[in-house]
């Protein structure tokens, strides 16, 4: 039984391949996060729009995205959208799917962050005749961001841990590469263990980083120029 004996030489041999696949995983997470934060903000702001139709449509859209599996969304974007003439690389599809899916979750975080701003702040902004855009940009969001950081960070880490789902559309991220290495060499122990350890390390580092960002973020918020 060689399946249970750890082979250091093999582990070192495959590590570079897994590390280079880790770059794909991190890139997908990074781009996915940026897109998710953007979409989350858009959803959150549209949910506060004066138009009831718009508010309700966004509510149902967000519910729909949150209540269907990420994998279904990934497949849909990758296999169905080309029929409508929209085809993207596996990476871009992944970024789009992750961003949309987690954007739906983040919109709730952002919404409650915005709701947490005192009514008096909105009223002062209106009394000073600031436009809605300036009110969000200068008054509300700068104060709302700090309380949003922990939950946003958790979702980004969750997104990172879901990137293996992108292997289903042939993206060569860490797990997919580990699987290929395993099947080529008939040894799965080392590649999968390495992938697990890398996920653990990245998650811990990210959690620490998020905590640091939160700690250093000005308590009252910040002022734009």
């Amino acid at each position: 039984m060689n399946g249970f004996s750890w082979d250091w030489a093999f582990a070192w041999e495959v590590l570079p391949m897994i590390l280079s696949a880790a770059k794909v995983t991190l890139l997908a997470t990074l781009l996915g996060s940026i897109f998710a934060i953007f979409m989350g903000l858009v959803f959150a702001l549209l949910r506060r729009s004066p138009s009831r139709i718009l508010r309700n449509s966004i509510y149902w859209l967000v519910e729909f995205i949150r209540s269907t599996p990420l994998l279904v969304q990934i497949f849909f974007l990758y296999y169905v959208m080309p029929e409508f003439g929209i085809s993207m690389s596996p990476l871009m599809t992944g970024v789009f799917a992750l961003g949309l899916h987690y954007g739906a979750y983040l919109s709730e975080v952002f919404r409650s962050g915005i709701d947490g701003i005192e009514k008096g702040q909105w009223e002062a902004a209106r009394a000073l005749n600031l436009t809605t855009i300036d009110t969000y940009k200068d008054i509300v969001l700068p104060q709302a961001i700090r309380p949003m950081i922990p939950a946003t960070g958790n979702y980004i880490i969750a997104m990172f841990k879901e990137t293996p789902q992108l292997s289903a559309i042939t993206l060569l991220e860490m797990l997919q590469v580990a699987k290929i290495i395993g099947s080529e060499n008939f040894r799965y122990l080392e590649p999968f263990t390495l992938v697990g350890i890398l996920y653990l390390v990245f998650s811990i580092v990210a959690a620490y980083g998020i905590h640091q960002i939160e700690k250093r973020f000005p308590k009252e918020g910040f002022t734009l120029k």
Partner: protein, 257 residues
């Protein structure tokens, strides 16, 4: 007298099932200082909040500086105001709040320059110069770079006044501006208002529980109860010889006369 600068005509206002104003009429002349006194829940603050467009109305008309506040003339008839119209109308008005509502993430200076820069398109230099003058006026020249949370309540409210004045409103609304302050801090805020009206003419509408201040500063005092003006007149009349029973009861309770 000339046309009033503020005019409420048959104004109706409800919050859910509670009627605040059923048929409210009220006018303020230009450069008149009017104090509104009365028990809480009588609609005093709502009156100011409607003028500042923080609350809508359910009926009637309001004119500010000769133009309808909550309506606009469009294709030959009055229709509810759109945000552009409200934006224009708000330029006439400034408000100081009971709980200050300063922006805690901005320096004192930035609290004051934010709106002139964003709304009036003033340059930073211009806005800061004017902020400096205003901070001098309210006696806080040395606090320009402080943050609201480092200030006392009285200082916060003086910043609140400076911030409202920075937009050069022709009508200043003061909503119980000393109610949230410790008693020993009330005077420093009221002194600012005293100086203000000494140096410049303002149309000022204040809701207050400071009876002596109301008496001293106002051209007219209105006693409010249950959404109507029960009694109004010159401060001496209201405070020394109130005619209405409810006014008497209120002043007795308040001043312990």
């Amino acid at each position: 007298m000339s046309t009033p600068i503020i005019e409420f005509k048959n104004v109706k206002k409800r919050f859910g099932d509670t009627t605040i104003f059923s048929d409210f009429n009220f006018t303020v002349e230009e450069n008149e200082i009017v104090s509104i006194i009365g028990p809480s829940g009588s609609g005093k603050s709502t009156l100011l909040r409607i003028l500042m467009t923080l609350e809508g109305i359910d009926g009637g008309y309001i004119n500010v500086a000769g133009e309808s506040l909550w309506h606009m003339y469009w294709q030959g008839q009055y229709v509810p105001a759109n945000s552009k119209h409200l934006h224009k109308m708000r330029n006439h008005l400034g408000m100081v709040f009971q709980h200050f509502n300063l922006f805690p993430h901005m320096s004192v200076k930035r609290n004051i320059t934010e709106a002139p820069m964003r709304v009036k398109g003033m340059s930073r230099e211009e806005a800061e110069e004017s902020a400096e003058k205003l901070l001098n006026l309210v006696g806080l020249a040395d606090k320009a770079d402080s943050y609201p949370n480092d200030l006392s309540g009285g200082q916060k409210q003086r910043v609140g006044i400076a911030r409202a004045l920075a937009m050069k409103p022709s009508i200043l609304l003061l909503d119980e501006i000393t109610s949230a302050l410790d008693p020993e801090l009330v005077d420093e805020v009221l002194d600012v208002i005293r100086n203000l009206v000494k140096e410049d003419s303002f149309t000022m509408l204040l809701v207050t529980h400071e009876m002596y201040f109301a008496r001293e500063i106002s051209d007219r005092v209105c006693f409010f109860d249950k959404g109507t003006i029960v009694e109004e007149g010159k401060p001496e009349e209201i405070f020394t010889a109130p005619k209405h029973e409810r006014t008497k009861a209120f002043l007795n309770a308040y001043l312990g006369q």
